[in-house]
Symmetry: C2
Subunit: 254 residues, 2 copies
């Protein structure tokens, strides 16, 4: 049995609680949060505290708070030589206070309050200062995911950067698409099957193989039409940047 204490109760930790609670190899001993949270069913038996001095014993303490608060929060913990991990993609392991054994438990996924997430396929990126802790984190990860990988902080930073491109920036492209349609009173729903297929394609094709469109073909006529339609819209600079880059990338291969 692995005893877990959650420190902070934002999106990541609440999704982790949801998925860890009820697995038979894990006990969630306690949830700490700076602000009071009422533990509701099915978590009403999990102890809650907003007082650091009342933290209970755990095999693993999982910090899930904003990136820039992790370091000082880990300093403020009233114990030492315990395994303390954080769940952030963009923060190095050594940001954690060295008075405890440090580690990382980073589920590479985008979490929203309102969406249930299936952890089975989510990569859990782990790291620890010593092999025994790494093994414990691996066992914790494997109770919920089939994809637990050890990734050191420097590589994880790049992984997090790549995640920003394929998640945050992609979502912004969806937003641009949605706004272009709104201006024409067309429903965003029209684009959803295309968005879904664009994402599904790279399950079996590399992004290079999956690439299509006027920029790749260097279809000057269509590109000019699009620039004309865009006029001086704020999306024009996105169109120009992507088109220039795609023309160059694929132009080389012609």
């Amino acid at each position: 049995m692995i005893n877990v204490v959650f420190l902070g109760f934002g999106n990541v930790n609440s999704h982790l609680l949801n998925t860890l609670h009820g697995t038979d190899k894990i006990t969630v001993n306690q949830v700490f949060n700076r602000n009071y949270i009422k533990m509701i069913s099915p978590f009403e038996n999990i102890s809650f505290t907003d007082d650091l001095s009342k933290l209970e014993e755990g095999d693993i303490y999982i910090i899930g708070i904003p990136d820039d608060a992790i370091s000082s929060f880990s300093d403020s913990l009233p114990f030492q030589n315990k395994l303390v991990v954080h769940t952030s993609g963009g923060v190095a392991m050594d940001a954690l206070s060295s008075k405890n054994r440090r580690g990382i438990f980073y589920p590479l996924q985008t979490f929203s309050k309102t969406r249930k997430v299936d952890f089975k396929n989510i990569p859990i990126c782990i790291e620890a200062e010593n092999p025994k802790d790494l093994d414990l984190l691996r066992r914790l990860g494997e109770t919920i995911s089939e994809n637990v990988v050890e990734i050191p902080s420097e590589k994880r930073a790049k992984l997090h950067l790549a995640a920003v491109f394929v998640n945050n920036f992609t979502n912004h492209l969806y937003q641009i698409g949605s706004k272009i349609l709104k201006e024409e009173d067309l429903p965003f729903d029209l684009l959803k099957p295309l968005i879904s297929e664009t994402a599904s394609k790279i399950e079996t094709l590399s992004p290079e193989e999956a690439q299509t469109g006027p920029a790749k073909r260097n279809d000057i006529k269509t590109i000019e039409k699009h620039l004309h339609l865009l006029g001086d819209s704020p999306y024009r600079k996105f169109y120009e940047l992507f088109t220039e880059e795609l023309k160059q990338n694929y132009g080389k291969k012609l």
Copy 2:
């Protein structure tokens, strides 16, 4: 029964043939292509020609050739007053020769040779010069899709522009993600669950609601870390453009 003749046999028309063939309300009379194509099973009974003078009768002629060839090709057709449509998102209906009755049959999806596509949810955007032809195109569309919509050329041009953003440009972001990982010897597979969830999220959330990330939060520290990691990489200008835009968008709402 609706009799269809395919003019050109690229990605769109071959996927259309695949899905229309075998529905009991449609007969595919003939496939024309400039270069010889051997019709293989289960299409071996469909007549093929590479000679425009040997075109057979059809209720609808569907042109599926490169955008910039549509106009002159439609001029070269050896008949008049037939219903001739094209399947392109970016070309206006009046690019077709006026000697025939003109229309549009544009399935809004990305097609690759190697991937089977389920048309059921794909929006089929139709347009025609007269109501009878529009009705015929609607009936054709409804044999394969539950989402047939009449959209005039000007709106379709904007829809196609939006499609370029959410499909072509999104795929390029996938490619950037893949390259960043490659530099670290990390497998692209790590990003696939995130890519899938990013696309799935907007089935139930608007792109505005689904947005997350350091730029939205104006998390200067993470943004600076990322810019440092990017150095003078070619992806830096993408990072800067998206980040600036997202900061402005969400900054306003703070």
